[in-house]
Amino acid sequence: MPGELTRAGAAVAVRGLAHRYGGVAAVTLPTWDAEPGSAWLVLGPSGSGKSTLLHLLAALAVPTEGSVEVGGVELSRLPPAARDRFRAGNVGIVLQALHLVAHLSARDNVRLARYLAGFPRDDASVDAALAALGLAGKSGRRPGDLSHGERQRIAIARAVVNRPRLVLADEPTASLDDDAAMRTVDLLESAAREHGSTLVIATHDQRVKARFGRQLRLGAA
């Protein structure tokens, strides 16, 4: 992994963060550092700004106050086009609603992430990402023909295929039974570890709390 050696210091560094959304405080976070390859849970009740924090980490929005650095790059300093490129190359996201493209096969959904990020076609790493998640035999199937668990694994493969610094997951275990919830967390953790990525899972699911030593608790804003 050629990117590995250049990673130094904190994978994520947050300082004096405050973000308001439509005039309403959405999230506040004075200080937070996450070292490369670490796995974090972001906990807090609904409305505490877990999703907003993920959006800020993904450079989908720029904080009203304070700074967010990912891999030593301060995101708010990047012009909009550079933020899109940065996200494409450095951040992989798994959302609760998986948002797979219905008419594309599992394989094409993962290839889409490489294409939209502007990376050259690399079917070997696409197939490897799918195989690592146990989808090797189902890469030609469309999301509609697969189970929810399988669809979630496609979304995870899509998030890690570009070998991002940071893998973000928003409520990945909501609406899953206990076994499936644990499996999903295991898959996320192993996929992130395999690609040397820092993992941040936002959740209010008490079942997965015990699995992670590193926890970031957001209060009601």
Partner: protein, 403 residues
Amino acid sequence: MNLATLSAGYLRARPLQTCFAVALLALGIAAMTLLLLVVEQVEQRMGRDAQGVDLVVGAKGSPVQLVLSGIYHLDVPTGNIPLRAVAELSRDRRVREAIPLSLGDSFRGFRIVGATGAYVSLYGAEVAEGRIWGAPMEAVVGADVAARTGIAVGQSFVGVHGIGESSADAHDSHPYRVVGRLARSGTVLDRLVLTSLESVWIVHEAHHEPADQAERDALAGDREVTVVLLRYSTPLAAATLPRQINAGSDYQAASPAYETVRLFRLLGIGVEALRGLAGLLILAAGFSVFVALTQALEERRTQLAIMRVLGASPATVFGLLILEGCMLAAAGTGAGLLAGHGLAALSGWMMPGEARGLVSAAAWHPDELAIAGFGLGVGLLAALLPAWRASRADVPGILSESS
């Protein structure tokens, strides 16, 4: 995987909306193409058929009818005029050439025209096979006549009285012999059977066989022609000759140029109305593309947002929807142009015998490029607003709603 395959995939995923937008656009483009081809070809053809003829002289009646029957061989003739009129007109110093034509019979829907060789030279037509007619009852067939009836040089046929396909009164006792076939000239000659003036007289006088020499002479004195096509020797003739004929004789003179313009001015109103209708259809198609894409936008808000999450720039999302609009427009325009030509072929084939083949689908008109441009432009324009809205979407907002 590229933007085009992604766009095409989204279009295929909504077959009904896609087909509707494409069909509507194709309909408008086809209507416009058909109009263009028909009007252009008919105008062109009519211009070619009237070339070199300055004046048509025939029996009194409607001047438009005289021109239609005497030049285009479309309407029934207004009547006959005495043969001596030809001699009178030829003697006039203002007339360079007077070409008499005798009409009245037909062969399987194609008119048999008694004429002089000058009629063939008028259009610069050439003999493709055999020779030009000489003796009475020799005939030369036009290219379309030969192609449609299959009659060949050396064969014989009988004409029927009248010029409709339904005429049943056959002149069995006076068969024509085909001695030549004309090369295609793109003029009215293609659809005619040509013979000598004498042949037409012989066929018709046969109904009452002359008893003696006196009656034969009397018959000869009564001989008639249907129209005389005149070419002026001086442009000044246009100012005096028509008026002189119309006022001072039993005949009527009509100017093909003037009557044709008058006819097209009348038809023009209808053509403009149809053109407007076709334009409306295309605009409606543009609106349907707009609705299809806007609807797609609503259904795909989160999908477009996830593309942004995966690193697509707003420009990429914009391009994706523009490309979808362009694909719809291109498919509709392409299908419309093909359908327009298909309909032109069909309408050429369905026209009544005399005008059959007047419109062909083989020719491409340069204005079709403008029609294609219009179709593509409408599609592009219809895609602009949805594409712009998609590219400006508030990604975190959409993601929070949908989670």
